[in-house]
Amino acid sequence: MRCWIAWLLAWGCALPGFGQAFESFSEEYNFYTYLLREDYPGEAFTVLEKLSLRPGLTVGQRDTVQYAMGRFHYERQELLLAAEAFGEVSSTNTELWTEAVFFRAFGLAYSGQPNIAIQELDQVTFKDPQYQELKVYQQAGMALLARDFAAYEQYKQGFTGTYFAFAEEEKNSQQWADDLQNFPGKRPWLAGTLSAIVPGLGRVYANKWGQGLATFMQVGVFGAQAWEGYRKDGLVSWRFITFAAVGSIFYISNVVGSVFAAQQRNQEFYEAVDYRLKLDLHMPLRTLFR
């Protein structure tokens, strides 16, 4: 008996990081939340990590730790890490698991993996009809992020608009789908050509009026000085050669820059729509799982 006690004591002391006897799980978990409240996130995470390594945790305790890790990363906008941790919550059909499933899917979609998120959501079913429809809404939004309009149309059939938490977002999704499908896009070659004809016009075409005007002024100023040099001193003069050379560099840059401006404009449009889409995917989660 004494040997057993001695062995247990020795084993307890040898555990990494604990040094002293274990606090109870709930005590340690409360300590973690206390550290977060006191704004010591690094220390809080250390406690959580150690808690996750503790031997003999029940499934419920392990899930609690993994969920907390997910939330920890989620609050710090480390969404891929959050998705990883949420994915470790294993006991299905609990409130914790439901939240973990949605937050994981959102984390994946936000981090550029909407198709994986859609597939994962496909594999789960919720008893609560509200969550079931939330799942469909999330998949529809993620399909738009993946630019899969056919899939969006399919998922959209499941919208009822009856759940306050995401009825508005369901409506909005049609707007985002229309915006994405109807956006004509700016053609880079056209922007380049326009700028070749009138410096800066390509940028104006790309909705960058300020840049267009500035480019026009730059090329115009050098062109005017080259013209002045040519008019007064002729073709072979340092004034004409210098300003014609510098003006040409600005002119060529203006053409190339307009091509990039059109591409950038397209990218900005898609980023803006994606941002609003992600916001709409996020809002119901914040409302339902505060």
Binding site: Y40, G42, F222, W227, E228, G229
Partner: protein, 262 residues
């Protein structure tokens, strides 16, 4: 607490921080809580995380516990605030020892931190006046006149910038950078000459778009540069002066400590 202290001895700073915080979390005894916060602040200080050390020690209730502990809390708060560059907070904590512990032997133990913070804020005249007033009581054995000597004269940024506006380059020269001032003056002169010459010759576009534009660019750039140079010069003057004054002050503090131990 012993466990946390043992981790400090092993330089396991993170472990010690957690152990101290666990004491803070669990204890009902405000004095023990204060000791734990002091210990935790020191673990931050050990790894040069002064702002966090300051925040931690400021969580303590410095009105609770024996005088020795209350003093240590305030001292650590003043020191970490000073090291974190929060000079006003450093002065406040140091002053609190002087005023709130006036009847204890600790009264003058943070006086040097108050002076150091004033030096860092370039408020030497106030520091000198303070040392003049309390020099006898504080036990540092320093003569304010001898210590501070002639106070450094800092360059005025507004003056330098105004000078530059009237005569490009003169602001930089005033800031103590003669060659940069001369270069700036030459460039500005060249640009304006270029502009005027071309106007005179009938090259109006060239005179305006190149000559005047270049002059404007150098003139306004020089204005901003002048401000930066004044700041650089003042930082240098402050550093040199503080190095010398702080060294003497810290020597006096060390001497005072030695005498106390004897």
């Amino acid at each position: 607490m012993e466990y946390a202290d043992s981790l400090v001895a092993k330089a396991d700073w993170l472990g010690a921080r957690l152990a101290y915080e666990r004491v803070v979390y669990q204890t009902q005894d405000p004095t023990e809580r204060n000791w734990a916060l002091l210990g935790k602040a020191r673990t931050f200080k050990a790894v040069n995380r002064y702002a966090e050390a300051q925040r931690t020690v400021e969580r303590a209730n410095a009105f609770v516990g024996p005088d020795s502990l209350r003093y240590l809390l305030k001292y650590e708060a003043a020191l970490t605030a000073y090291l974190a560059g929060n000079y006003q907070a450093a002065r406040t904590h140091a002053q609190q020892v002087r005023f709130l512990m006036a009847t204890t032997p600790y009264r003058w133990q943070t006086f040097h931190l108050e002076l150091l913070a004033l030096h860092a804020e370039q408020r030497w005249a106030e520091a000198k006046a303070l040392l003049n007033e309390f020099g006898g009581e504080c036990g540092l054995g320093l003569d304010a006149e001898a210590l501070y000597g002639e106070l450094p004269k800092l360059k005025n940024q507004d003056t330098a910038e105004w000078l530059h506006l009237f005569m490009p380059g003169s602001g930089q020269t005033y800031a103590g950078y003669f060659w940069q001032g001369a270069t700036s003056a030459t460039i500005n002169l060249a640009a304006i000459t270029f502009a005027l010459y071309h106007f005179w010759q009938g090259y109006y576009l060239l005179g305006a778009f190149t000559g005047a534009a270049l002059f404007y660019a150098f003139y306004s750039g020089g204005y901003r540069h002048t401000g930066t140079l004044v700041q650089q010069r003042n930082a240098k003057i402050t550093e040199e002066y503080n190095q010398q004054v702080n060294a003497q002050l810290l020597d006096a503090v060390a001497e005072k400590q030695k005498n106390l131990l004897r």
